[in-house]
Each structure stands twice: as structure tokens, then as C-alpha cells.
């Protein structure tokens, strides 16, 4: 059995993805605080519930297991300070650390509200096109009444800080409703003295100067998809209007970046881009990074494709094994790190930033996809054009394929009804990692998360079975890759620089809109 963590290098062949104890190790558990461990060969990572961690040389780990690290040793001090020695715990400090790490667990109600203002789209993306409809199908546009009720529902949820994210389809195809929601939500935020963030996800093919001006004036941050060089992007995301969709994206990104550079107020609204990794991307990591660099983007988000909704149906054409993604991730991250080390670029990778915010800073980065209980309902909700509410946007995509299981109500229901819905409760109960046999013991549990919709689609169980879950395999592999680089002084220095520069402005807790009320709790 390979006892060491294998990172992105391939499959795990042991009985579990967890690593085993060093062979013949003596153990004396009496004085040990609760911990999870992961064997990396020469060294071992230990972590605990409070998000504290330590990398131990193999022989120190064996001494620790046998109760052989004695008071007076520097190592004993370090382990005690981090809550690994049972009779030397500072409960107040550990509790504070737990709260900082898991702040989302103590804030009531969802913060991220994804509003699908239309299902229409003018692109035919290979991983999504059946989740949207033809541009002529105006019957899938959200109407004014539904838009108003949607905003009313959002403002009846209790989180003091709200983020409304416009999605589609292509939201610019129903522009009057986008405008209405922006202005109506801002009026309500003012009246209720609540913090409001607004974000628009669009493909830029329908952007105009007037629309851009409105978005800037109202502090709406703009996000797009950019999968890579033109041939790759256009193969993934064909444009029905003819011509290259990538050229349009690049052109608008350049324009908005130029605007942002000359204006401090606009700076926080620099466009961000999401990259989806398909099979076509796997050999092209550095090229994709170079494109983002050339555009002056501060970050790239190397996102794996999820086999959810339509993507599941075409997985055979565009999907891949999670080990292939991990290889891609590792090679591309190393390229990015090399650019940073050599001073050629300061570009950051967002998966790494999210996880490093948890690991190094001990803070919650506000990222929905990596928390437990899952972000579904407790952290986010998705609103379909017809007013139906889903536990997440992925849940809505499952509905579009004919399975309404993740529908938890409509905008005419009360927040309490949605929260009490059996599906909402099931998603929360099933996504507690303490009840997952493998996760409960995993060294990455304090920083990991759960994905009920993914596991429903892949394994027909909202709880999932982690030993065979590609979701677990992907995340465990990314953790392994990052932890190894955290141990290297050169790459650790790059990571520290990223954390210093990055303001952790995710969509869910991003920049504050000028002139908008900000509660202390949210600032």
C-alpha cells in the first residue's frame, strides 16, 4: 500500500484515499488532542477541527504518536499552541480560531442569490447548451412581476450582506429586467440598511457602451467566461451570431481594463473571467495562462468541468478522469509559480487562493463550493426565470434535464418555507462531513466542503461515497499539490505574496458599492 499522498500523480490504490500510519509505529493516544493526518513520505501533515496544522518530519510524527514529545521541547510548545496536546489547550483561542475559519456557519441565511433572468442564449457552449434555449424563446424571460417578487424574497432572507448575481442564459438578452432588479434591489438595500453586491455574468457578445455605463454607475461587477485562445474558446463556446466569440470577449475585457486603470472608483469592478477546463484544454495550460497575463488579468481560475446537467450527457466527448485534471492543474500551477518566481508575472491562481486563505490565513474566503454544511440553501439560492427556487444553480440545471428534485419552493413562498423544505434539510444533513466516514478522519476536513448536487448526479446519493468520488479525488489532489508547494520556501514566498495582495474579493463578499449602506457586520 502506498502510504504517501500522491497529489496529482495518479490514482490511490490503498483501501482508502487516506494514508496509513508509518509501519510498526508505536501509539499512545492518551495525551493527544484530536487530529487528522496525511503522510507525504518524508513528512506528515497534521490538522485539527480548529483549522490549525503542522508539518512534522516523519520521526517527529512517530514521537508525537507515541507521546514522546516532551514539555520543554520547542516542538511541544508548537503543538500545544495549536491544540494538538490534550492537556495544554487554550480553549478560548481555539474557539476564536474555529469561528474565524468557519464564520459562514454563524451567519444566518444565504448571501449569494443567483437570478436567471432568461434561459435564452446566443452561444451554444459544448458543456451547457442544452441548459439554455434558442434566442427566439422569449417565453423563458423573467417577467416584471416575477422579478419584483424575486427581489422581495431575497430581501426577506436574513443575511445582513446580500449578493445578487445575474446569470442565464445570457442575461443581457433580458436587459430591462436586469436594470429593474439592480435599481429595485438598491432601493430596498437602502431602506433596509443592508449591504448589497451585484454581479453580472455575461458573454459580452451583447454588451454596449450604454449597458456598460449603467453597470459601472450602479457598481455592478462584471464577470465573463474565457476558456483560452480563440480556437479553444470558440470550439468550447460557439457563437450563434457568427464570428469568434473569443475576439469579442477579449476586446471588451481590454476596454474595461483600460477604463478601470484610469479610474480608482472603477478599479474594483475590473472584469473577472472564469475558465472551464474541457478535454481540449488539458494540454494547453501555459497558453491559457499567457492569454490571461497578456490581458492584464490578476487571477486565473483553473476550474474543473462538472458532470452536471447537460455536461453529464456529453461527458464522453468533453469530460476526463479527475487524475487528468489534477495533472493539468499541477502543470499549470507550476507554470504560474515559475512566472512569479522569475518575476515575469504576478498572476495568481484562484483555487490556490481560496484554499490558502483557509489554510494559511485561517479565514473563510466566502466560497460556496467548498464549505460544509454545503452552500446549498444555507449559503446560496438560485432563482429560475419562472420564479422557482433551487438549492443552487447546479440544482437548477438538473431540473432543466427533467429532474426537479432540487426545487425548494417559489418566490411567493416564505424564506421559512424554503428553509424547512425537505430537500433543503436533506442537503444540509447529507453534507455534514463529520458523518462521512472518510471525511471525518481526513486531514483536509477543516478546509474541505460538500457538494450534494454533484454527488446526486454522479453517484445518485446527495451524501455521496467519498472513497470513489471524483469530487473528493479532485479536491484531495489539489490539497496535496498545494501543501507540497507550501513546504517549499520559494513557492511559499509566492503564496504569501498572493495572500498579501489579494483582498479576497469573491463575488459573495466583494467590493462595496459606492454610496451603498454597509453594516459593520459585513465590512
Amino acid at each position: 500500500m502506498g502510504s504517501g499522498a500522491e497529489g496529482g500523480k495518479g490514482r490511490f490504490l490503498g483501501l482508502s484515499r487516506l494514508t496509513s500510519l508509518p509501519s510498526g509505529a508505536r501509539t499512545d493516544p492518551a495525551g493527544l488532542g484530536f487530529f487528522g493526518f496525511r503522510d507525504f513520505g518524508d513528512w506528515v501533515l497534521i490538522t485539527n477541527d480548529y483549522g490549525r496544522w503542522q508539518m512534522l518530519e516523519k520521526n517527529d510524527f512517530e514521537r508525537f504518536l507515541a507521546g514522546g514529545v516532551k514539555p520543554g521541547e520547542v516542538l511541544h510548545e508548537e503543538l500545544s499552541g495549536r491544540g494538538f496536546i490534550r492537556d495544554r489547550m487554550d480553549f478560548g483561542d481555539l474557539a476564536a480560531s474555529y469561528v474565524r475559519q468557519n464564520s459562514f456557519r454563524f451567519i444566518p441565511g444565504p448571501s449569494l442569490h443567483m437570478v436567471v433572468v432568461t434561459l435564452r442564449c446566443n452561444q451554444k457552449c459544448r458543456y451547457c447548451h442544452s441548459s439554455v434555449v434558442d434566442p427566439s424563446r422569449t417565453d423563458t424571460d423573467m417577467d416584471l412581476e416575477t422579478a419584483r417578487k424575486t427581489v422581495d424574497f431575497i430581501f426577506a432572507t436574513p443575511n445582513p450582506s446580500l449578493c445578487i448575481e445575474f446569470q442565464g442564459g445570457e442575461p443581457l438578452l433580458n436587459w430591462p429586467i436586469v436594470k429593474f432588479i439592480v435599481e429595485y434591489a438598491q432601493a430596498k438595500a437602502k431602506a433596509q440598511k443592508r449591504r448589497l453586491l451585484l454581479a453580472l455574468v455575461n458573454n459580452f457578445t451583447l454588451m454596449t457602451d450604454d449597458k456598460l455605463q449603467f453597470l459601472i454607475d450602479h457598481g455592478v461587477s462584471i464577470c465573463t467566461s474565457l476558456d483560452g485562445p480563440a480556437d479553444l474558446h470558440d470550439a468550447n463556446r460557439p457563437f450563434l451570431g457568427g464570428g469568434s466569440a473569443q475576439t469579442k470577449v477579449v476586446s471588451w475585457v481590454k476596454r474595461i481594463m483600460a477604463l478601470a486603470q484610469t479610474d480608482d472608483i472603477r478599479k474594483p469592478y475590473m472584469p473577472s473571467a472564469l475558465m472551464t477546463t474541457t478535454r481540449l484544454s488539458l494540454a494547453r495550460g501555459p497558453e491559457i495562462v499567457d492569454l490571461y497575463r497578456d490581458l492584464g488579468m490578476e487571477q486565473i481560475f483553473l476550474r474543473p468541468l462538472s458532470p452536471i446537467g447537460y455536461a453529464k450527457r456529453v461527458w464522453g466527448e468533453i469530460g476526463y478522469d479527475y487524475a487528468d485534471f489534477l495533472r493539468f492543474y499541477e502543470e499549470t500551477l507550476d507554470y504560474i509559480l515559475e512566472l512569479n518566481v522569475s518575476g515575469r508575472s504576478g498572476i495568481m491562481e484562484r483555487n490556490a487562493l481560496i484554499l490558502l486563505t483557509k489554510i494559511v490565513k485561517g479565514e473563510d474566503p466566502g466560497f460556496m463550493d467548498l464549505r460544509w454544511p454545503a452552500g446549498t440553501v444555507l449559503g446560496c439560492l438560485a432563482y429560475n426565470y419562472d420564479g422557482r427556487i433551487f438549492v443552487s444553480d447546479e440544482g437548477r440545471m438538473v431540473d432543466h434535464q427533467g429532474d426537479p428534485i432540487f426545487n425548494v419552493g417559489t418566490v411567493t413562498d416564505s424564506w421559512q418555507d424554503v428553509l424547512d423544505h425537505p430537500t433543503s434539510r436533506a442537503c444540509v444533513a447529507a453534507s455534514n462531513l463529520e458523518t462521512q466516514p472518510m471525511c471525518a478522519q481526513c486531514a483536509y476536513k477543516p478546509w474541505c466542503g460538500a457538494e450534494p448536487v454533484f454527488h446526486y448526479e454522479m453517484q445518485r446519493s446527495i451524501a455521496g461515497q467519498m472513497p470513489t468520488s471524483p469530487w473528493c479525488g479532485t479536491h484531495m489532489g489539489i490539497f496535496d499539490i498545494l501543501l507540497k508547494r507550501l513546504r517549499e520556501p520559494k513557492t511559499r514566498a509566492v503564496f504569501d505574496g498572493w495572500l498579501e495582495r489579494d483582498l479576497c474579493q469573491w463575488q459573495e463578499n466583494g467590493p462595496t458599492i459606492p454610496g451603498q449602506p454597509v453594516t459593520e457586520a459585513a465590512s
Binding site: F34, L144, T468
Partner: protein
């Protein structure tokens, strides 16, 4: 991980016997490797179980502390944040919303009244042509 069928027999209070039947493996080496892996996993589980049992009250106590701390923190930071403030739109805000609704209604009916509708048309046009059409429309 999905390598063997396991049969557990015996008396839980006394001795349990675990019989493993490999799913794919054949030779004696594979069987020996499976046995080794199982024993290593058993040793790790024994330790994890003991550590979990010894620390149960400590972990519960820290989480209780965390709950109290978080409550205190959120009440200090945003009193009453648990319930959204009752919405009190001023007369000005109300009339602003009415104006907004009227404006959007006009925009939508104008959009729907057009035979082809601006959106399908825009999506079929090239980006540059769509821009020009939008500009002409807005300056008309």
C-alpha cells in the same frame, strides 16, 4: 477502495473475523498485499477511534465556546442582524420604484411590440452590427 468483498462474522463483544475476497486480484502476492493493507488500515482506525473517544468532550466544549463567541460577536457588530430590518420605504423611494416599474413596463412592451424583437435579432447579428443597431436605436 473497491478492491475486495468483505464478510464480517463472529461476536461483536468478543472476536470478529473479517474475510476479504479480492475483486480483481489473483495471485498470492496480491492477497498478501491486501492483508497488509487491511492490517495497516486497522491500526490507523484503532488510533483514530481512541483519539476521537478521548477528545469528544474537549471538542464539544470548544464548539460550545465558539457558538457563544460568534453570537456575542455578531450582536456587537450588527445588532438585530438576525432579522432583516422592517422595510420602511420613504415616500420618495416608493414613487421612485413606481417610476422604475412604469419605465421597465414601457421598455418591455416596446421590446415585445417589435415584430422580430430586438433580442433574437441582436443575437443573430454580428457583434459589430448589433452594436451599431443598438446605437442607432438609442439615439433615435
Amino acid at each position: 477502495m473497491d478492491r475486495a468483498y468483505a464478510l464480517v462474522s463472529g461476536d461483536k463483544a468478543k472476536v470478529l473475523t473479517v474475510t476479504l475476497r479480492p475483486k480483481g486480484a489473483r495471485g498470492a502476492d496480491d492477497l498478501a498485499a491486501l492483508k497488509r493493507d487491511f492490517e495497516a488500515e486497522l491500526a490507523a482506525q484503532r488510533l483514530r477511534w481512541a483519539v476521537a473517544r478521548n477528545n469528544r468532550t474537549v471538542r464539544e466544549y470548544v464548539v460550545e465556546n465558539a457558538l457563544a463567541l460568534a453570537k456575542e460577536f455578531s450582536e456587537r457588530a450588527a445588532p438585530g442582524a438576525a432579522a432583516p430590518a422592517a422595510e420602511q420605504l420613504t415616500a420618495d423611494q416608493r414613487s421612485e420604484i413606481e417610476r422604475l416599474i412604469a419605465e421597465v413596463e414601457t421598455e418591455i412592451s416596446a421590446m415585445n411590440a417589435q415584430a422580430k424583437g430586438p433580442d433574437p435579432k441582436a443575437s443573430a447579428l454580428s457583434w459589430e452590427a448589433a452594436q451599431k443597431a443598438e446605437k442607432d436605436g438609442s439615439s433615435a
